[in-house]
């Protein structure tokens, strides 16, 4: 399917140039499901909606690639890809009304359980088109999976929170759907058992689609999902490994809800969610740290990524709990994702960064957005 998109990108360019001219700033907005992430935007920022950029420009099923405009809802893109037995291997929580857009997911580099096997958003983006603050429409990468021509601006823009320019279109690599799936599930109340099970499964030759953990009120689960014709025999082997590690085990055929819960636990509309970038061997420590601040935890057991959520915290102690956690988990990065508006101003959202690195990031920002128009102030180091 081909659509004429130039006029729409030109409109984005026009809006940006206009804002620059007036000395204002814009706040780029897709589905609006993650607008609360990052530092608070400047008051008076003009909202720049991308929902009008809503075309799947190409789906090249034979090449396992697609070109998608930023405003396409991820759920809609997945439905279209699924018709050809394919998927974009990115499954973050989709937010209110499943509103998350492809552009928003790329800008925040949000991810879900599929990351275990397929990598993050950065690993799926094979090309990007963006409008810079001066109105120039730029492109990097292309439509093929293997490509080293030019700098990889796709990776630079992925996770940049819209601070370098407005992402208007991305080229993506797709993967075949894993086929019928099922999950080996292990339960334990011992963080060490959870840890041991996670390490032995991720070191095994089993090819799980996802390998997650969950910890809530003193109880933990390890979830290993397998797909395809060999899924069952792999799940059975995973179950045996969990049993040997000391878990109570089962194999769940109807596992959709289990994984929906994993994704959902990465968000807390009324609470606080912290993302911890740890290592797989930190798992027991992360679980204990979560318990110490009365948080529940989910995450990627083989990757070391964890999301800690605190439901309805007393606003007064959020800041101290965040800092306690940071101190406990140092030097692992801890970033605040969800948090009630009234406490966001009090807490250090991104954590501290070494000055030479921040200086380099500021130089990048200055080159792409010299007047600080795009999402000013919301990112690391007040970029």
């Amino acid at each position: 399917m081909q659509v004429e998109t130039l006029s729409e990108y030109a409109e984005v360019a026009e809006a940006l140039r206009g804002t620059v001219g007036e000395g204002g700033t814009v706040r780029v907005c897709g589905g609006g499901t993650k607008l609360c992430w990052g530092r608070p935007a400047l008051s008076g920022a003009v909202s720049l909606p991308t929902l009008g950029l809503d075309s799947i420009v190409e789906h090249n099923a034979g090449d396992l690639t697609a070109v998608v405009q930023a405003g396409v809802r991820l759920a809609d893109a997945q439905a279209a890809f699924a018709e050809a037995g394919q998927m974009l291997a990115v499954d973050p929580p989709l937010g209110a009304g499943e509103g998350a857009t492809v552009g928003g997911v790329v800008a925040t580099a949000d991810s879900g359980p599929l990351r275990h096997r397929y990598g993050g958003v950065r690993d799926q983006v094979i090309g990007i088109r963006a409008v810079l603050a001066d109105g120039s429409v730029i492109r990097s990468g292309g439509k093929v999976i293997k490509n080293v021509a030019g700098y990889d601006l796709g990776k630079l823009f992925t996770g940049s929170f819209g601070t370098l320019g407005v992402i208007v279109e991305v080229s993506l690599r797709l993967h075949p759907l894993p086929g019928p799936v099922l999950t080996a599930l292990g339960k334990t109340d011992d963080p060490q058992v959870l840890h041991k099970g996670a390490i032995s499964l991720s070191a095994s030759p089993l090819t799980a689609v996802s390998l997650d953990f969950r910890w809530e009120r003193g109880e933990g689960w390890l979830l290993a999902r397998f797909g395809g014709g060999a899924g069952r025999s792999q799940a059975q082997r995973a179950e045996q490994m969990m049993e040997a590690a000391g878990f109570q085990t089962s194999v769940e055929e109807d596992d959709e809800a289990l994984w929906a819960d994993q994704r959902a636990a990465q968000r807390a509309p009324d609470g606080v969610v912290l993302k911890v970038s740890a290592l797989p061997t930190d798992l027991a420590g992360v679980v204990r740290a979560a318990e110490s601040v009365e948080a529940a935890a989910v995450g990627r057991a083989g990757l070391g990524l964890a999301w800690l959520s605190i439901e309805q915290p007393a606003p007064a102690d959020v800041a101290s709990r965040v800092e306690d956690l940071r101190a406990r988990l140092a030097p692992r990065p801890v970033v605040v994702l969800d948090a009630p508006a009234e406490v966001r101003k009090e807490i250090d959202i991104w954590g501290s960064q070494p000055e030479p690195l921040l200086a380099l990031m500021r130089r990048v920002k200055d080159r792409f957005d010299p007047t600080g128009v795009c999402n000013r102030g919301i990112f690391v180091g007040e970029i």
Binding site: G62, K143, N147, V148, D152, T207, G228
Partner: protein, 486 residues
């Protein structure tokens, strides 16, 4: 800033490194005048062989203070001229920095210095784990070079590229400042500058410490080579395998000429009466591998394969691979010289691009042997020529350029794994607009405003950085008439 002569910095370099690791004699310098693309040469004034990150930092800082351009180099196996020195500049060779700093298998990480070879990384984590990117030069090529070029290999379709396995870098920036991009953990807050650095071809600094992700070795491999009468049939088989949702660890194609050359060189037992050989290797868990292998055999049969050979043991598997891995080296059997391209096409465009290559070969009366990473559409057409025949080299280069054009026209890329370097920079405008190139330049200038790191590579024409923000000022290179503001 006045640009100094590199030779004037000799005593400073000798203080910063040991004097025996500062080379200036023409005989010593000659070793470094080109990389794997031998057609491009330049003599540096000084070659430095630092031992530590601190020495790299000092060397870069001396260059920065004097405004002298420098080029970083690993083993020098690159195929796009990315490590060709700047004439009369400084060359920083990282091959002495070959310590494996940490092996952490529980976390699937290995931390190395840039001079460690690609194969040494896998060796350091074997037998349980491996490092998937495997360029054919893996015995000698360095990890620092792999990071600079975002190297690939035969296993990219399933496993991805170097960039998918780098999780952290310690980088000496072109002003001598040291930054850590990423770390042992994933998802460090801030811009993914590590992602931007990998594949930047030495134009943003020098990686002095590299944290890599490694993965468990698959428990089962199944390998076959299927012979077909035509490349179209083999291409059809590839499409059907992919359409069936099978993701082979490697899927490689060779045409008649390539088979002929490799068979003469290796005696691997490939059939010579066919138009195409398709190597398919599946890997993974035992159950998964066996199930998919049966399907692959069926697909090859239905696509008209005249013979399918299945490796029965590791020795037979290695024999199948021996021919493929010798493809470039064995071209000498067919022709004294060859010009290799690295274009990428959407896999479904294979038939039309192949016939375009055939037409070009006919029109220019040259032979082209074809070797492909078929899964990801990465073509390596080898345009054969004889340098001693006047005009042949130019004709080969012209054909190679037209092949690249055909790849871009088909929606592909100039290069899948070899990089732009010097060799392909003139083609950059075929793929990117002026605004795109300007965006690349913004990134480069954030890292290296004076453009001392590997100048003259990647970008088609010299561009200046200018100050940000602030009024326009003429750059020293512009004043000297070396570069123009675009």
């Amino acid at each position: 800033m006045e640009r100094e002569n590199a030779k004037g910095l000799l005593t400073q370099f000798e203080r910063a490194l040991a004097p025996d690791r500062v080379l200036t004699h023409p005989h010593e310098l000659r070793t470094y005048e080109s990389d794997g693309l031998v057609g491009y040469r330049a003599m540096p004034a000084i070659v430095l062989l630092p031992d530590t990150a601190e020495e790299v930092r000092n060397a870069v800082r001396i260059c920065h203070e004097a405004g002298v351009p420098w080029v970083a180099r690993g083993s020098g196996t690159g195929l796009s001229g990315g490590a060709v020195p700047v004439e009369e500049g400084v060359l920083i060779v990282l091959t002495r920095m070959r310590r494996i700093l940490e092996v952490d298998l529980a976390n699937q990480r290995v931390v190395v210095e840039p001079g460690v070879t690609n194969l040494q990384v896998s060796a350091a984590v074997s037998p349980t784990h491996f490092f998937p990117p495997d360029p054919s030069s893996q015995i000698v090529c360095s990890i620092g070079g792999n990071v600079a070029e975002n190297s690939g290999g035969a296993h990219c379709f399933k496993y991805g590229f170097t960039t998918n396995y780098v999780v952290g870098l310690e980088v000496v920036l072109p002003d001598g400042e040291v930054v850590n991009l990423g770390g042992k953990e994933m998802d460090h807050p801030g811009y993914d500058l590590m992602g931007a650095f990998v594949g930047s071809e030495g134009t943003m600094g020098i990686a002095t410490k590299i944290v890599l992700r490694v993965i468990p070795v698959p428990e089962r491999f199944r390998t076959l080579v299927a012979f077909f009468e035509t490349m179209e049939q083999a291409g059809h088989a590839v499409s059907d395998i992919v359409a069936a949702g099978i993701v082979p660890g490697a899927i490689e194609m060779m045409d008649r000429l390539a088979i002929q050359a490799t068979e003469e060189a290796t005696g691997a037992g490939y059939r010579l009466d066919v138009g195409a050989a398709l190597i398919v290797e599946l890997d993974g868990s035992e159950a998964e591998c066996e199930l998919a292998f049966g399907e692959v055999v069926g697909i090859c049969e239905r696509s008209g394969s005249v013979e399918i050979r299945i490796a029965q043991d590791e020795a037979e598997r290695q024999l199948i691979w021996k021919a493929r891995k010798a493809a470039f080296a064995s071209m000498g059997r067919l022709s004294p010289n060859y010009y290799v391209q690295d274009g990428v096409i959407p896999r479904t465009k294979l038939p039309e691009v192949l016939s375009a290559i055939d037409e070009l070969a006919l029109r220019f009366n040259v032979s082209v042997a074809n070797v492909f990473h078929a899964g990801d559409g990465n073509l390596h057409p080898l345009v054969l020529y004889d340098q001693s025949v006047p005009g042949e080299a130019e004709r080969a280069e012209e054909v190679a350029g037209l092949i690249v054009q055909a790849c871009v026209d088909a929606g592909g890329s100039l290069t899948g794994e070899h990089g732009i370097g010097i060799e392909k920079k003139r083609y950059m405008t075929k793929m990117f607009s002026d605004a795109d190139l300007d965006a690349f330049q913004r990134l480069r200038c954030a890292f290296d405003p004076e453009q001392l790191a590997n100048p003259g590579k990647v970008m088609p024409t010299p561009r200046l950085c200018g100050e940000v923000p602030g009024p326009y000022r003429r750059h020293p290179l512009e004043q000297a008439g070396i570069a123009e503001r675009l």
